[in-house]
Symmetry: C2
Subunit: 203 residues, 2 copies
């Protein structure tokens, strides 16, 4: 029977976890510096201080690494189960959320990786499925839950389709960001929220 | 003094124009068949029946060829100066326009080239500038003109920023298309128009 590892023995699970975090952090930092097109597994390995084969053993492509890096980030930020704010005022809460999104999108450390992911999934079906399941759908559920509460509180038209409502609120912002067709400012997102909610309120 | 070409002599301008059209048509057809990633100058040349060097003499990259192909298409469709419909009812006109857009986006012959262009410009600054100047801005002007008329006719709030209004109307649709987050149907675009205009009407 093999001896149990003592507290002084190297712990392979903990060591793997440390390598994994180093790789994901390196991928996230590098894509912000050189862009997705020039990102390479070699460079990620060198920055993380691991061998290339370690990365290839865990991920099939640089897109997959980057995707897990973004996921790690959103998990780190969330304390427990993430939720959208609920102060009772849908308008105030949406303004808070969209202002926070704009702060992220204006930060080059986030802008480039998220831009890379958003364009890569257009051509990569496998990554698109993972994106939908692990990032997009969980966020959609949070948004739907918050809007449903507002609908029950009489702040949204009872006949409004919640997926359409989500697109009326977040679509203009994401489109302006991806197409770079204008500045992303708090005043801009406040106007989106006000205009969208006027269109979505009970008749 | 060189003799003027007679009607029977080969006309180099007309011959160049025929080659140009053959190349752009080949690029447009091929990208719909194989996608932008696998599109190659070699394949475009073979399909168009010209030498590779002919293409490289006129365009710096496959992205530039594809871009001109889309521009040729939109010029062919427009009889003279293009305009958005103006029947007097902004709601009816926008429904007509968005339904036509959805018919195009649901056609694989258009979907793939436009998707390729929309993602390529995210990483390619030169192509992005050409896109803005030659495709995006002319369309923005048409949209702004139509919305300004509606504003003058009292169908839109006089304080509404027209660029914001454009994004409230077209943003959700473009975002759903690029992210493939739902079906593009006439019922869907009608709902967008109704919801957006309710938010944008005079208070």
């Amino acid at each position: 029977m093999p001896a149990k590892p003592t507290s002084n023995a190297p712990d392979p699970i903990r060591r793997n976890e440390a390598s994994r975090k180093a790789i994901l952090t390196a991928a996230f930092d590098l894509v912000g510096e050189v862009g997705f097109g020039k990102l390479s597994i070699e460079a990620i390995a060198a920055r993380a201080g691991v061998g290339k084969q370690t990365i290839y053993r865990w991920w099939p492509s640089k897109g997959a690494v980057l995707f897990d890096a973004l996921l790690m980030l959103s998990e780190d930020q969330a304390t427990g189960r993430p939720e959208l704010p609920d102060t009772g005022s849908l308008e105030a809460d949406l303004k808070t959320v969209l202002r926070a999104t704009v702060r992220e999108l204006n930060d080059p450390r986030y802008d480039e990786p998220m831009r890379a992911l958003n364009t890569e999934i257009v051509h990569n079906q496998e990554l698109a499925a993972a994106y939908t399941e692990r990032l997009h759908e969980p966020m959609q559920r949070l948004k739907r839950d918050r809007l449903r509460k507002a609908q029950q509180a009489g702040q949204l038209d009872p006949n409004t389709d919640l997926d359409l409502a989500i697109e009326m609120i977040w679509g203009p912002l994401l489109n302006r960001w991806l197409q770079r067709t204008g500045p992303l400012t708090p005043e801009y997102t406040d106007s989106i929220v006000e205009t969208a909610l006027r269109g979505l309120m009970p008749r």
